[in-house]
């Protein structure tokens, strides 16, 4: 329940796994570029993209499991800052304007990475909720709380960036379109889970109820993803490597990895806050106070 300050062998293995999968994801991304530039195989590029995405997701899971690494979140945030600053530089000043949307399309370089990682954070919350219900290990409760909060943060940012992009392209800040509506539902459903946790005093009931609520709310995540395909939507469908110009890749990928590292660092720190709060909450009263109470 209480975060472990010792670096265990398991932590070391998990960190090594994170580094290997993260590097693999990056190399596969570069390899995909080589495929596209030479026009060899779009299918191969799609496979590489899926592998890279899985690699990123695995990195998040691996890193979050290793509580022993006290300085890892700070390192991740520093790497994220480098990725985001360089990605934003390329997105704002180097990448060309898009054919129809002109310079407004540059919002994509922050909007899309926010969307990918927001859904990834909520996926981790779902995984943590399921693992908690099976194991009753409160580490997973702390991780779920962290992932839900960071997921809400990114979903909120997603809605703001989307509104700013919608005004010049659609003429309105907001529309009750399927993608936007399901995203708003997602934001409020998970915000409700954090509110629920504030109102329940019993740690066990709080953990169980919020795990169940997280699993139920997660149903909306695939609905958000597929909403643009299932219904007529103002929002465009997902792009693929074959529909995005290669000149847009670099800023998009740098920012995607930047948000991923930032999100992971945030979740690790937030999970530590949750675990320390819980430890203080269930700690026995000091001896003098215990004597007075008796």
């Amino acid at each position: 329940m209480v975060p472990n300050s010792q670096v265990s062998r398991l932590d070391r293995v998990l960190l090594a796994g994170a580094v290997i999968t993260g590097l693999t994801a990056m190399f596969l991304g570069v390899y995909m570029d080589a495929y596209l530039h030479e026009g060899i195989s779009i299918g191969g590029a799609g496979t590489a993209l899926i592998a890279a995405t899985l690699g990123m997701a695995s990195s998040v899971l691996f890193l979050l499991m290793g509580d022993g690494f006290r300085k890892v979140p700070l390192g991740l945030i520093a790497v994220a800052a480098v990725c985001l600053i360089s990605g934003s530089y390329f997105g704002l000043f180097v990448a060309p304007p898009e054919h129809f949307m002109g310079d407004v399309q540059r919002i994509m370089y922050v909007h899309v990475p926010t969307a990918w990682n927001g859904l990834l954070a909520l996926t981790f919350a779902f995984v943590a909720a399921v693992v908690f219900l099976f194991t009753n290990d409160f580490k997973w409760d702390a991780r779920m709380e962290a992932a839900v909060e960071v997921g809400i943060l990114l979903a909120f940012l997603l809605c703001c960036q989307g509104a700013i992009w919608a005004k010049p392209t659609w003429g309105v800040w907001w529309d009750w379109d399927p993608r936007l509506t399901t995203t708003a539902v997602l934001l409020f459903a998970f915000a409700g889970i954090l509110a629920l946790r504030r109102f329940v005093d019993d740690p066990v009931k709080r953990a169980v109820w919020s795990s169940v609520a997280t699993i139920i709310s997660y149903v909306d995540v695939p609905i958000v993803y597929f909403s643009v395909r299932w219904w007529n939507s103002l929002h465009q469908v997902q792009s693929s490597p074959s529909t995005v110009s290669s000149q847009f890749y670099l800023p998009l990928r740098l920012n995607a990895f930047g948000v991923l590292f930032l999100m992971t660092g945030f979740m690790m720190l937030r999970a530590r806050v949750a675990a320390l709060r819980l430890a203080a909450e269930v700690a026995p009263p000091p001896e003098e106070l215990a004597g007075e109470l008796a």
């Binding site: 949307m101 002109g102 540059r106 940012l157 700013i164 806050v273």
Partner: protein, 39 residues
Amino acid sequence: MSGGYITGGWGFVWAAYGWTALVLTGYAISLFVRLRKVR
């Protein structure tokens, strides 16, 4: 907009990037403050 092409719009671009940076920085600061409080 001119002939289907959106002209200008840099104000919206800066707003999106600026708001994103502000929110993420604010959250990072809040995390460190909360961590210091619970320690």
